[in-house]
């Protein structure tokens, strides 16, 4: 199994801790005037997204996590699992609700998503940064309002609810930033 010495620690490095894959967010080298050196790191659990601190003795080694990111096309949901396809190998993989998480609110068939695979198994799914979705439900806006001020809730075809300007109506396609969950423009 591949491993890394603390000397190789840098942001983005994927390591195994307590049986889970983590990515190093920040690495600080700490050493007293004379004596033992330490690496104090902030690491993100790639399964839960939680960031924690951890201190290592400098020179210690840590097992590498076999984690990589890949872009895959979302095919369909069978009611329990989300199915994705690698567009080059046509290999298909499935992910459950825990793994898809927030992305489920935004993705629809054919969308290209970033999947994080650990030992070949998906552990997180990222929706595209911007998606275009149809409004299925919203209150009729005030006539003549084009300022976009105020806003109102609108339900999208995927079930997500976003705040939209008053002038946007049912049946219209809008662009949404999935990272903030905010309306960007009409599409």
């Amino acid at each position: 199994m591949a491993s890394y010495s603390t000397n190789e620690f840098r942001a983005g490095l994927k390591i195994m801790l307590d049986g889970d894959p983590y990515a190093i967010v920040e690495n600080e080298f700490v050493k007293p005037g004379k004596g033992q050196a330490f690496n104090r790191v902030r690491v993100r659990n790639l399964k839960t997204g939680r960031v924690v601190e951890k201190t290592f003795k400098s020179g210690d080694t840590v097992e590498a996590a076999d984690v990589h990111d890949t872009q895959m096309q979302y095919l369909y949901n069978d009611g329990e699992h989300w199915h994705f396809m690698d567009q080059e190998s046509f290999e298909q993989i499935t992910a459950d609700a825990n793994v898809v998480g927030e992305a489920a609110k935004w993705i629809k068939e054919q969308d290209l998503c970033n999947l994080t695979l650990w030992n070949g198994v998906p552990i997180s799914v990222e929706a595209p940064n911007f998606v275009v979705l149809v409004i299925t439900e919203t209150d009729p806006g005030l006539k003549g309002d084009t300022s976009g001020g105020g806003g109102k809730p609108a339900t999208l075809e995927t079930g997500a609810v976003v705040r939209v300007p008053l002038f946007v109506q049912i049946g219209e396609r809008i662009k949404v930033d999935t990272r903030s969950g905010e309306y960007v423009s009409r599409a």
Binding site: P32, G35, A37, R40, T55
Partner: protein, 322 residues
């Protein structure tokens, strides 16, 4: 991606470095301390298990392997034994495996020695030098013992504490991952110092931490007492360690014992074991006057002078673009 050719430090910071070096040299000229130069590359090297020396090869020499010094300490003590009197040196030193916000494998050290002085007298001069170098004549100074700081900040007596007590203290104080660390007594003390004490030291003033456990004496004299302590100090300013000084060990037999003990620990840890500096031991046998000496990190002092948070901000070309 290729590294940029431009310097990492701004030209203003490089000018501040030049001024800092000029002030330091003026301080020592006024104090009657002589500037010296000693070899960067030597046949012997530091034995301290916490230091990793860089090695190089000089083609054409019969004995071609040379070690880059981690500090000029050993050679400067030979000058003291030769009767040089008070001396100082500003030089580049090299330490492998040290890279971070406050660490760079090649850095500038100011080291000086005062024959006839002890560490308490020397630390007063260190404070004076820092005030001049930073142009902050009003900067206050305090002297705290290692033991008092541990008692005050952690409610823990570091002298004679056993591994279990220290490990429990580290876990109890919330150091993440402490439970998984395998350390010796000094390792646990270093962990507590760096993670729970250091950042609070030297806030708005110069804090000298002194009288270390004898196991952390390095090349300091140990003063008998209850408990015995190493006559060693470290200077902190704004949570950053700036300098380390001693009343120097002058006993050749004790020095040889410490060198051997260091090498044994290095061998146990699988580290390179460079040759012991026999020339230093010969100089100690010939007679090193009672002396105090100190090493101060010039790059860190410049970080404070310029308000820099990362050492790269005060270096023309950090190693990645060197």
């Amino acid at each position: 991606m290729p590294q940029p050719w431009q310097p990492a430090a701004t030209l203003a910071v490089l000018a501040a470095r030049a001024r800092l070096l000029a002030r330091i040299r003026a301080f020592f000229a006024d104090a009657g301390v002589m500037e010296v130069e000693t070899p960067i590359a030597s046949r012997a090297a530091a034995t301290d298990p916490a230091l990793e020396s860089l090695a190089t090869v000089c083609p054409g020499l019969a004995d071609s392997r040379l070690w880059l010094h981690t500090s000029p300490e050993l050679a400067m003590k030979r000058l003291l034994a030769a009767g040089a009197g008070p001396i100082y040196q500003i030089c580049k030193v090299f330490r492998g495996g040290e890279r971070g916000r406050r660490h760079h494998p090649e850095f500038t050290l100011l080291e000086w020695y005062r024959p006839g002085w002890d560490y308490r007298r020397l630390l007063v001069e260190v404070a004076a030098l820092v005030r001049v170098a930073l142009d902050r004549p009003e900067l206050a100074a305090e002297v705290l013992t290692y033991r008092a700081v541990f008692l005050d900040r952690l409610g823990l007596d570091p002298m004679g504490a056993d591994i279990e007590t220290l490990r429990d203290a580290a876990r109890g104080s919330g150091i993440a991952g402490a439970a998984d660390l395998a350390l010796d007594v000094d390792g646990w003390l270093d962990l507590l110092l760096t993670h729970r004490i250091e950042s609070g030291l030297g806030r708005g003033r110069l804090t000298f931490l002194c009288d270390y456990p004898p196991s952390q004496a390095a090349l300091a004299r140990i003063r008998a007492g209850d408990p015995p302590v190493a006559e060693r100090f470290e200077l902190y300013l704004e949570g950053m360690e700036l300098a380390n000084g001693f009343t120097e060990l002058t006993d050749a037999a004790e020095q040889r014992r410490r060198f051997r003990c260091d090498l044994q620990r290095r061998a146990d840890a699988g580290l390179a074991c460079p040759p012991i500096d026999e020339a230093l031991l010969a100089a100690l046998e010939a007679g090193l006057p009672p002396s105090a000496g100190v090493a101060l990190g010039v790059d860190r002092l410049l970080m404070i002078a310029t308000g820099s948070l990362h050492i790269d901000q005060v270096l023309a070309f950090p190693v990645e673009r060197a």
